[in-house]
Symmetry: C2
Subunit: 168 residues, 2 copies
């Protein structure tokens, strides 16, 4: 193989995955990988959130939130020498009893193939590894049934999720 050929030869997804310590997601097309490193580029995360139409957030606050999340799970498409962030979820926690899952997002192009379930299962796996059993989240009305399928119960024993709203 000539020098130029080797330079422009596409990196196989596995090599990229190894570099970034990613794990292949089973039952996908072989280019989708999971990561659990909180060192996500906040600009890349916000581009992903943009793709699903979420409101823009200040980058410096996104960086702080990532630093202070207990679990960060990422989904990547590895292809043609680079990786692209296509899914994300994070959890805050007191490191002992409670955890809350936030910012669950899958890029629209990759929705409908079970990757949301993959993200949530990974978050739960990491939290249980840390012996945290009280795992909760707030679900918008359209995704309540999605989370029910993953074992989440709305308002168990009449417990209500409540949001503080500043009075005028």
């Amino acid at each position: 193989m000539t020098f130029w050929n080797s330079l422009f030869r596409p990196t196989p997804p596995e090599t990229l995955a190894q570099k970034y310590k990613l794990r292949k997601v089973p039952n996908q097309d072989g280019t989708i990988f999971l990561g659990n490193d909180r060192l996500v580029d906040p600009y890349e995360l916000e581009a992903l959130c943009d793709a699903v139409g979420w409101a823009r957030r200040p980058i410096h606050k996104v960086r702080i939130a990532l630093q202070h999340s207990f679990v960060v799970i990422t989904l990547w498409q590895c292809n043609h020498n680079f990786r692209k962030l296509i899914g994300f979820a994070r959890a805050t926690s007191d490191h002992a009893f409670n955890a809350m899952i936030w910012d669950v997002v899958v890029h629209p192009k990759f929705q409908g193939r079970g990757l949301g379930k993959t993200l949530i299962s990974e978050v739960i796996r990491e939290l249980r590894k840390a012996d945290i059993t009280n795992i909760s989240l707030f679900a918008d009305a359209p995704v309540v049934s999605f989370y029910e399928k993953l074992g989440f119960i709305p308002d168990p024993e009449g417990i209500k999720g409540m949001f503080w709203s500043p009075s005028e």
Copy 2:
């Protein structure tokens, strides 16, 4: 004043409060003070939780949870040379966007005099000082109306609090 008199003279509540950097709670009997120091003795916290009938928790996990809470607010009765923990609330947070309030407790002897409101108002004040606006909690059915009076809204826009339950 003799030596023995000075030794056994009760310390005024204000002196104790100053030592522990506590602030007097207005409209109380002058012995109730607020603190925001996370260095709470976990045994003392669990004794308080015991007094309201909560399930026992492992002390080493209580200590970890305190360390990893973003805001800790305490209520103390200062009297006769010592202070007693009579109220507690804490919040976890990603230090940027979201905070969850947990473990809100007032000793039964001190309930019914507005101290629950004092605790929650202080937690919110600390969180807002840190520019955190998404403040939420899970309320058991009997305390939903208590939190509504403090500005919390259950299920706003159909958002559901959901708890993960391990499948057998």
